[in-house]
């Protein structure tokens, strides 16, 4: 018997030169960095791999006491593995994907026995490091340029669909979850699936993120996903009532805790009913860290869009590590702070929903109520309370909530402190000659000189075809043309420059209209929720997110299905009807099979059963 505790790596003398040679072969890349940095955090699924000496003197490997290779002759075992693998026929010229490296004997044998590219997926960096310390992967001339190492599941998505999959079973036994994800992803490439995810959108109970959630849901739907919306707005009254019921902080906190627990269960009930492939949660969504942990444990990925200023709202520290993807509207230093917590943040700026924010004909009554030479729509933050009174003489009207009605602005508010619906906001933007857009700040008296993110209003005013003057933000330049004759927005840095730009724009209706048109075009092309959601979801797909049941809940290109139908005439005839659609999902295929008594064709019957038994909606 082998005593692995006495046969440690150092006793079989790992060769630093071999490791260096292998790293040189890899070149500067994420994998070599991870190996050098000894980043083992992704290896939580398995025990520490150990190197033990096999009977024939070669290094072998065990994990948790179970051997990954033969403890007698690992090389011979590797050759036998290859013989078995090749019995399934010739390998495609595109190559093979081997799941599991271990020490690599089977991979070395495969390289020697074939001439095709070999992609090796090994999620445990420690095993790669050990293999790299004992086997020189560029030692043989005929191996060179054919071996590729992958350590992250998402990398599989970039492989050619013709590649054949080979699994190293001893490696799989100790890394079941990672291998299952990898196989799922690989199969989805082979199926040439166009992912149509089942997505549950969870908005906040109330607040500014609510319309963002609605826009995100519209955007996801427009991007071809099947979207359910958990409408938390009926609970707004309950949330407000908590604040009004007692002035005792302790009791208030208790009630809020109970309310939070209740909302958690509401969301969980909806998750269990919808069984989403992805939960998209917006900032302030009623999902406690406890719920996020439960969802994570149950395998429901949550993508969280933190449409907040991280400096003012700090709950991201608790939420971000618990979710699958954390999107933010700010870059540095926020992304670095997230990275320090082990979270890979996704920069996803705000956007507009053109189905709500669009140019519109207004009635004289609307023009009278909502229109003004200068208008502002937004909540009464400190800097706005201080800044806007200085514009009152220009014919200012102010809409929104949380304004101090005792100050000079009260006269400028036709609907004091009334919450405006998105539709009303759109009317305001359309009816106003010059929309002032001042980003909020609780520290400054006017413009925040260090402001970075761009608020949703910027996109919404532009989407309406409205004209705006907006305070300068550091992230604005990459979203809009900000300088020159084709500038899409007009900026101010101070009260003085704001007044100057308003006066200039008021006297230049042609220039105003041209700039507003350019801004609208830009938003429709680049800054709708559909664009954002497509970008976000495709990023997640690239990084390995897949529907829970990808093969049956996704979409397939019709031509691909026709090819698969082969000689089956009935199936081909049935599928040809769907050619104009380009791609189809099971919903489409059974969409015309209405409930009732009419007899259905065998093909319709088959798709009906596939849909019913795939857990489809």
């Amino acid at each position: 018997m082998w005593d692995s505790s006495k046969s440690r790596l150092d006793e079989i003398s790992a060769d630093a030169d071999i490791l260096r040679g292998n790293l040189r072969m890899l070149g500067p890349c994420a994998l070599s960095n991870r190996i050098l940095a000894r980043q083992d955090e992704a290896c939580g699924e398995t025990d520490e791999p150990r190197v033990v000496k096999a009977k024939n003197g070669k290094p072998s490997m065990t994990v948790g006491g179970i051997s990954v290779h033969s403890l007698y002759d690992p090389e011979k075992e590797g050759r036998e593995w290859v013989r078995e693998a090749l019995s399934g026929g010739d390998l495609p010229k595109e190559g093979v994907l081997v799941l599991g490296l271990g020490m690599g004997y089977h991979v070395a044998a495969l390289l020697s026995a074939t001439s095709v590219p070999v992609f090796v997926f090994e999620p445990d960096i420690r095993r790669i490091r050990l293999s790299f310390s004992f086997i020189s992967w560029d030692q043989e001339e005929r191996w060179r340029g054919r071996i590729h190492f992958l350590s992250e599941t998402g990398e599989i998505a970039r492989l050619d669909r013709q590649i054949r999959l080979l699994v190293h079973a001893p490696s799989e036994r100790s890394q079941k979850r990672a291998f299952s994800d990898a196989k799922k992803l690989f199969r989805s490439i082979q199926e040439d699936m166009i992912s149509s995810l089942r997505i549950l959108v969870v908005p906040p109970v109330t607040g500014g993120s609510y319309p963002v959630a609605v826009g995100a849901a519209h955007g996801l739907k427009a991007a071809g996903h099947r979207v359910s919306f958990f409408d938390a707005s009926p609970f707004e009254g309950a949330l407000l009532a908590i604040g009004q019921t007692t002035s005792l902080d302790l009791h208030k906190r208790q009630l809020q805790g109970i309310f939070s627990g209740f909302m958690d269960e509401m969301v969980m009930a909806r998750v269990l009913a919808v069984k989403p492939d992805l939960v998209v949660a917006l900032a302030q969504a009623p999902m406690s860290p406890a719920l996020l942990s439960r969802l994570r444990d149950m395998g429901y990925p949550v993508a969280y869009w933190f449409v907040e200023d991280f400096r003012l709202t700090t709950y991201w520290e608790r939420v971000a590590p618990l979710v699958h993807d954390f999107a933010v509207i700010q870059k540095e230093p926020f992304l670095s702070l997230l990275a320090r917590s082990g979270v890979r943040g996704t920069y996803l700026p705000a956007a507009a929903d053109p189905s709500v924010f669009a140019p519109r004909e207004l009635s004289p009554e609307d023009r009278k109520l909502y229109g003004a030479p200068v208008g502002f729509m937004g909540a009464g933050y400190h800097n706005r309370q201080r800044f806007l009174p200085h514009l009152a003489d220009l014919g200012l009207k102010v809409f929104g909530t949380e304004w101090n009605l005792s100050d000079a602005l009260a006269a400028a508010m036709p609907l004091p402190n009334r919450r405006m619906t998105p539709d009303e906001c759109a009317r305001i933007f359309c009816a106003t000659t010059v929309n002032v857009n001042l980003h909020s700040s609780v520290y400054h008296n006017g413009v925040n000189p260090d402001g970075d993110f761009v608020n949703p209003r910027t996109f919404e005013i532009a989407s309406c075809g409205g004209y705006q003057v907006v305070d300068r933000r550091s992230l604005m330049e990459e979203l809009f043309q900000t300088e020159g004759p084709d500038a899409e927005l007009c900026f101010f840095d101070s009260e003085t420059s704001c007044r100057r730009e308003i006066r200039r724009a008021t006297g230049d209706p042609e220039g105003r209209r041209a700039m507003a048109d350019r801004a609208r075009k830009r938003v429709l092309a680049c800054h709708t929720y559909q664009v954002r959601m497509e970008e976000w979801v495709s990023g997640m797909l690239e990084r390995g997110l897949r529907p829970a049941s990808p093969a049956l809940t996704g979409r397939w290109p019709v031509e691909g299905l026709l090819k698969s139908a082969g000689e089956d005439r009935g199936l081909s005839d049935f599928l040809k009807r769907f050619r104009p659609m380009g791609s189809v999902g099971l919903d489409d295929l059974v969409g015309q099979t209405l409930p009732g008594k009419d007899e259905i064709s065998p093909e319709e019957a088959t798709f009906l059963l596939m849909k019913e038994f795939s857990g489809g909606p």
Binding site: K183, K184, R187, S188, Q190, E191, M193, A548, S549, P550, A551, L552, W556, L561, S564, L571, L594, P595, G596, K597, D598, E599, I600, P602, E603, A605, T606, L608, L609, M610, K611, E612, F613, S614, G615
Partner: protein, 501 residues
């Protein structure tokens, strides 16, 4: 198309529910087999293994599994092959016993011409059904809190499968000293007798000279079984969690009595014609899912909330379990084994016995007394239950065999208080008939005033059987009228009641 030599039609039974539900449908398979026609069973691989172990004489088709990774190219051929098997011209009638979309899709995909049971989902309004063969009334009565009045049994759906002539199904005589099988629980806490009940029951059995008590249950009940086994050292054998379906079958066949909550062994024992005592509390009702064959006693919790929604009821106390008096159950068991008279019902527990020579259907008599209706809410429920059973069985049709419960009404003692109930109901039926062409919202509002009519309203209005509404209303009015007239004609006062003869 395949037929037996006697010309009986071939039948395919779709069973997608739990294995216990499969055992509950064994009588149907038995009925269909006894008619001589070829028989098939489409089920999960797990149920298929049970069917094979129990040597069910049916061709077994299994549903393909669903594997997330298989994709179109892996999934389509196997489902297409199943459709081919379903449509190979083999089957003439299909029975689907559960209200679930997958099973309804299988019925649809099979294109088998005659369907029984749930051939459509409640609420689907496309097309008109040929006949009201489904169970929507049963389903809706279950869902609408009217279950105390429901007397439509699961087996009523296969009345048409009854062979001509009387059915003999006596239990085989059992030696008193044989073993008694005691099942520790059903699938949830709401079907699990308390430790105290089990202890008192075993003690009572031991006191009366019963030989061995064999405990059966789930693997997680092994410890409970061990506790009881230690308590009654040498006389209790704990096999909880240790039996396969074949073992279970063998044990049940050898037992002289099986005592069980409403769960798989109860139905298996009943199918094997072993005497059974079913314990019904929580969500289980013997009117709906009681045993079908052999000598069968049901001991039922007599609480106002029974039968409840069990796991869905939110009940924390499950007080109905506490009413299950172990010594009373032991007393009933001893009576069954010795052939003596059953003890009377108590204020806490009903003791029902399923009648013989009625084809195994839902004739329930109370402690050997004729079916009766007492005054008070229990009496009202009983009356309406019988009334609606008579009505729905007429509506459902069947072989034309007389319904034992309907017949039993001739011996019912109606309380005088029942007359206003019947008048109220008649008003409701008239109103429903008058609103036949009104908007659905208005009709639903009207029915809310007469909740007991919900099953009928759902059946006729929401489930697409609208064209039958007129006839159905007239049938029900006739049923009510008959009952009222009888009461008026022969008012014989007996202890505050009216005897209907």
């Amino acid at each position: 198309m395949e037929r037996s030599s006697g010309g009986s039609p071939s039948t395919l039974l779709i069973q997608r529910a739990r294995p216990g539900d499969f055992l509950e449908s064994l009588p149907l398979l038995d009925r269909a087999a006894s008619s001589g026609g070829p028989l098939g069973l489409l089920c999960s691989p797990e149920i298929a293994s049970w069917a094979r172990a129990l040597e069910i004489k049916a061709r077994v088709l299994t549903l393909p599994g669903v594997h997330p990774e298989e994709g179109f190219s892996g999934g389509y051929p196997k489902w297409r092959a199943l459709v081919g098997e379903l449509r190979d011209g083999h089957w003439e009638r299909v029975v689907h016993l559960n209200h679930d979309r997958g099973g309804v899709a299988l019925v649809r995909a099979s294109a088998i011409p005659v369907g029984y049971g749930f051939t459509r989902m409640a609420g689907e309004t496309e097309g008109e059904p040929d006949s009201p063969l489904g169970w929507p009334a049963y389903l809706v009565s279950s869902a609408r809190g009217l279950r105390r009045k429901n007397r439509i049994h699961l087996s009523d759906i296969w009345r048409e499968f009854l062979p001509e002539g009387p059915v003999t199904e006596s239990s085989s005589p059992r030696a008193f000293g044989g073993s008694v099988v005691l099942v520790l629980s059903g699938r949830s806490l709401y079907r699990q007798p308390t430790f105290e009940t089990l202890e008192a029951l075993i003690r009572g059995l031991r006191k009366n000279g019963v030989g061995e008590v064999i405990l059966l249950g789930r693997p997680d009940e092994a410890a409970l079984g061990e506790s009881l086994s230690r308590l009654f050292l040498g006389s209790v054998r704990n096999l909880a969690g240790k039996t396969s379906i074949a073992d279970l079958d063998a044990l049940v066949r050898d037992a002289c009595l099986v005592i069980s909550p409403d769960t798989a062994p109860l139905h298996l024992a009943s199918f094997r014609r072993i005497p059974t005592i079913g314990l019904f509390f929580g969500g289980a009702s013997p009117h709906e899912t009681g045993a079908r064959y052999g000598r069968r006693i049901s001991i039922v919790s007599r609480m106002a909330c029974h039968p409840c929604g069990a796991e869905g009821s939110g009940c924390q106390t499950i007080a109905c379990r506490d009413l299950m008096d172990g010594s009373m159950i032991a007393e009933v068991a001893v009576s069954v084994m010795s052939g003596g008279p059953l003890p009377s019902s108590t204020p806490s527990l009903w003791v029902y016995e399923g009648g013989e020579s009625d084809g195994g259907f839902n004739r329930l008599i109370l402690s050997g007394e004729p079916l009766r209706v007492s005054s008070g809410s229990e009496g009202e429920e009983e009356l309406l239950g019988i009334l609606f059973r008579r009505f729905f069985l007429r509506l459902l049709g069947g072989t034309g065999q007389p319904d034992p419960v309907a017949q039993a009404l001739s011996g019912v003692v109606l309380p005088v208080e029942s007359l206003p109930v019947l008048e109220h109901l008649e008003t409701g039926v008239r109103l429903m008939a008058a609103l036949a062409t009104s908007s659905l919202t208005r009709r639903i509002a009207a029915v809310n005033e007469f909740p007991v009519l919900w099953p009928l309203a759902h059946h006729l209005w929401l489930d697409g059987s609208g064209s039958m509404a007129k006839d159905a209303f007239s049938e029900l009015t006739g049923e009510i009228q008959e009952l009222r007239d009888t009461v008026r004609k022969r008012p014989v006062k007996t202890e505050g009641g009216v005897h209907v003869g």
